[in-house]
């Protein structure tokens, strides 16, 4: 007799969809349901701050899969919001008063935007970007204005700034710390990105806190702590994300900057798995828990969770990797760039690509590069492999652009 499991997936982002697809590859019988709060087929989020804002892509252009895929794979998309989970009796409850039982549950609820608090009027007018609805709102507002203030110099803020600059908007970026993208990106590359924004006319205010924001008619006057004023017609905030764990605050699920999972995507409760932005997972290579917010991570950990759910033990040990496109440049980072003894640079211009490697005891721990689109991806990928192989590196090959980095893979 074939065992038919009921597998429920909370959330409909990258992890959720790739987990469902992976489960079906190995298990043709089980019931798979994805709970999708949004009124769209599951879609990729990266284009929202780039191609979608630039009107180069429409919403149908960045779906993970077509409607037919879900029908063919018998993956049911349920357009409901989860209100609570009863881990003891294995039920989830939705906003439309439905109750679903499960055998295995994957939590892939992603993350939520960190919010800023000013006053009621300002809070109800500032814009955030998380989903298609937000992106559409920004597009609609932006079509009628010229002056934009962006609070937060992280990936999202800078990608929006780049997209709006390319639509000839006047963009001011306010960042509380002394460098852009400080959480993930080393200062060497952040400075190059900053120079590109400035060269294209964006104004950057680093090391600045906001003292207050006043709404005057349809405009905003932002006062910084050094008493500099910035005028804006709209304000967009991108100040980071928090794991979407609110549903489980009063449960037995262990949460600590996200849902704690082991290297097999298993949470502290049996038959409950977590993947993607929401999970704070144990990384066997770095020997510590880390939480990542990236496309590749969400996809690959979703796939790994899918395998583990169907009983194929799959240790998740992907090397962290993420990218950003701003103007016509592509930035990529792999591994961890804040724990090193030595820095090696490869390349001289961002036109051909520059990569900084961060090493400890002759081994690469992380690398970050910037170049015209396509110029650094290959070397960053080779670097990811080298990090994973955990081998000592000939630094002369790393720093010499004439030498193919693939040589290092062969010399293992």
């Amino acid at each position: 007799m074939t065992l038919v499991n009921k597998i429920l997936i909370l959330g409909a982002g990258q992890s959720a969809v790739y987990a469902a697809s992976e489960i079906r590859k190995h298990d043709t019988e089980s019931i798979i349901k994805i709970f999708n709060e949004e009124n769209y087929l599951p879609y990729e989020r990266p284009p929202l701050s780039k191609d979608f804002l630039l009107n180069e892509k429409k919403e149908d252009d960045f779906l993970f899969f077509s409607k037919d895929f879900y029908e063919e794979k018998r993956i049911e998309l349920i357009n409901s919001k989860i209100m609570s989970v009863d881990f003891k009796n294995k039920f989830v409850f939705t906003n439309d008063n439905l109750k679903f039982s499960y055998d295995k549950l994957l939590i892939a609820t992603g993350s939520i935007n960190r919010q800023l608090k000013f006053d009621e009027v300002i809070d109800s007018n500032i814009l955030y970007l998380r989903d298609i609805k937000d992106a559409k709102k920004i597009k609609e507002k932006i079509s009628k204005v010229n002056k934009v203030a962006i609070i937060g110099g992280g990936f999202i803020g800078l990608e929006i700034a780049s997209s709006l600059n390319q639509q000839n908007k006047s963009v001011n970026i306010i960042e509380i710390s002394n460098q852009l993208m400080g959480r993930m990106i080393p200062p060497q590359i952040a400075n190059l990105v900053q120079a590109e924004h400035e060269k294209n006319g964006n104004m950057l205010f680093l090391n600045n806190k906001i003292k207050n924001i006043k709404k005057i008619n349809d405009n905003y006057k932002i006062t910084l702590d050094n008493n500099v004023f910035i005028d804006a017609e709209i304000i967009i905030v991108g100040v980071g994300s928090l794991p979407a764990t609110e549903l489980f605050n009063n449960s037995d699920l262990k949460i600590e900057n996200g849902i704690l999972t082991n290297e097999y995507c298993e949470t502290s409760i049996k038959d409950i798995y977590a993947a993607g932005d929401v999970s704070n997972f144990y990384h066997p290579l770095y020997k510590k828990n880390i939480r990542l917010e990236s496309y590749q991570h969400a996809q690959n950990q979703g796939i790994s969770a899918g395998k583990n759910i169907v009983g194929i033990q799959s240790e998740y040990r992907s090397i962290p990797w993420m990218w950003s496109n701003q103007f016509n440049f592509n930035l990529q980072v792999t591994g961890i760039c804040d724990d090193y003894e030595d820095i090696i640079v490869r390349g001289k211009s961002i036109v051909d690509g520059i990569i900084y490697f961060f090493l400890k005891k002759e081994k690469i721990y992380g690398a970050c590069g910037l170049g015209l689109i396509g110029k650094i991806g290959k070397d960053i990928k080779i670097t990811s492999k080298l990090i994973e192989m955990n081998i000592s590196i000939d630094k002369n090959i790393l720093s010499n652009e004439e030498q193919n980095l693939k040589l290092l893979l062969k010399n293992k």
Binding site: E44, Y295, I303, I373, G374, K375, I376, G377, K406
Partner: protein, 105 residues
């Protein structure tokens, strides 16, 4: 496959082993590969997003997109790793008198 559609690409030894070159013809763009098993050709653009594969990583008989790390089999065009899910179109290749040709029909 029409005999008229063979187009000269490059000298055979101008493509390094386990590498590729970009080849543009008319309004189309291709990648022509040299691997252990010989010479092969595919469409130039990744099927996931419009990124050229010329800067991608060739390892054995696979090409990996430099943007989002989708992987394709060079010989069959098969999409092997997400986010790529649509196969790459492949083209016949021949080597004559040390010149590489592809059939673009």
């Amino acid at each position: 496959m029409s005999e008229d559609n063979w187009v000269e690409v490059a000298k055979a030894d101008s493509i390094e082993m386990e590498d590729l070159i970009r080849f543009d013809h008319g309004d189309k763009t291709f990648c022509v590969y040299r691997i252990e098993d010989g010479y092969f050709a595919t469409d130039g653009m990744c099927t996931h997003e419009d990124v050229h594969l010329e800067d991608g990583l060739v390892m054995d008989d696979e090409i990996e997109c430099p943007m989002h790390q989708g992987i394709f089999n060079i010989k069959s065009g098969e999409a092997l790793s997400p986010p790529a899910c649509e196969d790459l179109k492949t083209y016949p290749v021949k080597v004559e008198n040390d010149l590489v040709y592809i059939n673009i029909s």
